[in-house]
Amino acid sequence: MTRRDQSDDQLRARHDQVWARLATVMDPELDESVTELNFVTHANVDAGNRVHIGFRLPTYWCAANFSFLMADDMRRVVADIDWVEGVEVTLGEHMYADKINAGLAQGLSFRETFGEEADGDVEEVRRTFLLKAFQRRQYAILNHLVATNYSSETLVAMTIAELEALDLDAEGNKLRQRYFDRLEVLGPVRPHAAAFLTSAAETLSSESLPKYLSGLRRVGVNAEFNGALCRGLLAVRFDLETPLRSRSASTAASVDAQLRPSRVHVESSESLHG
């Protein structure tokens, strides 16, 4: 193997690592990954091991606080990689792109970037949406378990350890993992605590469970709707109609082409939440 090949391999591995990290950043409102949503346009590693990330949003008017949160999260997860020497995140085609980009470049907070009038606490907004994501993921796994004949009595008595030990099908596994990933929003996760508490950490009874589920359903319906709207607007705005090749289909292409992320088909989310 030549030195050139080795450095190509390393570069490719580093790009993959960056994309894998970016995939963990969620749109706070939609609770979906910024890479799956097609928000990230590029993530390049330069010769000095600095990472340059570009992203864009479904409209010129998307909420500045959410835009800022996502950019800040991207910066953080990529900066955590040991070989990364610096991260530059740039938002394109947004009403406040200049202001947000300048704030990000200087490592300012949302409030510092937008001044005194930015009186909302971004962290509070973040928590609000983490709780919604928790509810939505909880609804998805509970709904799945109810559909596979777990009784209300069993579900309200189940502990986290018991839920973890359940033998589930592929779909159930995925939903359970997504739920576990958001559990800590309620506080430290203890294996013998109840698996299903409300977002206010209240216990449920077999009598209250059905009503609780119909309440949670609203949260899921709302998020689905927002997700569909955002995807549609992004597709129109940046003409994403033409399907892009998947990563595996591009093996013969140049390194640069291979380093593009594989696009997730827009329709796939429906079955996910349906």
Binding site: T59, C62, A63, R217, L233
Partner: protein, 347 residues
């Protein structure tokens, strides 16, 4: 007027229409360009292909086009004109009460003209509200709580200034307050689409009706919750309804939730013209049934009775429209001539 197959007439009040000018010659800056293009993305994304307009028509349409789309080709009997000023983006404003008043003037039997106010305008804004009430006898107003203005990043209906405006509106008989708690119109920092403030003012101002446009999307879940607790909170279906074509399953979810939490007496049809046109929306809506799996979950059913309420009866109640008298007025003005011709052709 929509006629069912059995010949029953359904009176349609379109709760959300605009007569705007987003054309390049009226654009003040890049924001004006981006604004109309964003609307156009909504239009392109959610309209059936055959209903898509070229950008040029979308940017600015004339009064006759609008009249025909709503009342001749469309099934609307009446339409509510909701203003959106956007004076910072457009030289003569985007869709002002003044501009809309020309439509009202040419077809008074067809239009309900609404005003707008922004509590951040202070004394001058209050004066303007008085003027609008006096000059146009407005019975409703459109509010954008999430709009950024200079250093301000939106306001809440619970702000002290907002209370002053709502008190004035109540006194002036401007009793239908349409609040845009919908998809982003301008960026925001605090959660300005939060619908909690509606809950507060709906309790404090029992004589006012609060119509939450776009049903609080993207906060439908919170909206359903507060709307169930207040008797004077309504949901406007604009933006939610067009999903009936591209994502009927999503629309089924949303409408069944709304019927479950708010009930059929609290929902208002709106095309959001010129983003969408009423003909295809109503054709699809009349043909729509909530999927059985949804109905089983929520018990919601879109009966003909419910459809009639959503399409016109609810808005008629809010705006004091006597449907039979209004039909007679429209007929006298020749507004139903095209229907007659159509009926004859069918015979």
């Amino acid at each position: 007027m929509y006629k069912t197959q059995s010949g029953e007439e359904i009176f349609v009040i379109d709760g959300h229409t605009h007569f705007w000018d987003g054309s390049p010659s009226n654009q003040k800056n890049i924001h004006g360009k981006q604004f109309i293009e964003c609307f156009y993305a909504y239009h392109s994304n959610l309209s059936p292909p055959a209903e898509k307009w070229p950008l040029e028509k979308f940017e600015k349409y004339d009064a006759k086009t609008m009249y025909d789309d709503l009342f001749v080709n469309g099934y609307d009997d009446m339409a509510i004109l909701q203003p959106t000023y956007l004076g910072d983006f457009y030289k003569n404003g985007f869709n002002t009460t003044e501009r809309n008043s020309a439509m009202k003037k040419s077809h008074p039997e067809r239009f309900i003209l609404n005003g707008a106010f922004d509590p951040r305008d202070g004394a001058k804004g209050l004066e303007h509200l008085h003027e609008l009430a006096e000059k146009y006898k407005i019975k409703g107003a459109k509010l954008y709580t999430a709009e950024w203005r200079g250093e301000s990043k939106g306001y809440k209906l619970t702000d002290k200034e907002s209370y002053r405006f709502l008190e004035a509106a109540q006194k002036l008989g401007v009793k239908n307050i349409h609040v845009h708690k919908g998809p982003t119109i301008l960026p925001l920092n605090r959660d300005a689409f939060d619908v909690a403030d509606i809950d507060d003012v709906a309790t404090s101002f029992q004589d006012l009706n609060f119509i939450v446009e776009h049903c609080g999307l993207p906060r439908l879940d919170d909206f359903c919750w507060i709307a169930t607790q207040e008797t004077n909170v309504y949901g406007g279906l604009a933006v939610a309804l067009p999903f009936i074509h591209s994502r009927p399953a999503y629309f089924g979810h949303v409408i069944s939730e709304l019927l479950f939490w708010l009930g059929p007496d609290k929902l208002l049809f709106g095309s959001d013209y010129g983003i969408w046109t009423p003909r295809w929306l109503i054709d699809k809506f009349m043909a729509f049934e909530i999927p059985e799996a949804e109905s089983k979950e929520t018990g919601s059913v879109l009966t003909l009775e419910n459809k009639k309420k959503i399409l016109g009866l609810n808005a008629a109640r809010l705006y004091g429209v006597d449907i039979e008298a209004q039909k007679a007025t429209i007929k006298k003005a020749g507004g139903y001539d095209h229907l007659k011709a159509h009926a004859h052709a069918a015979e």
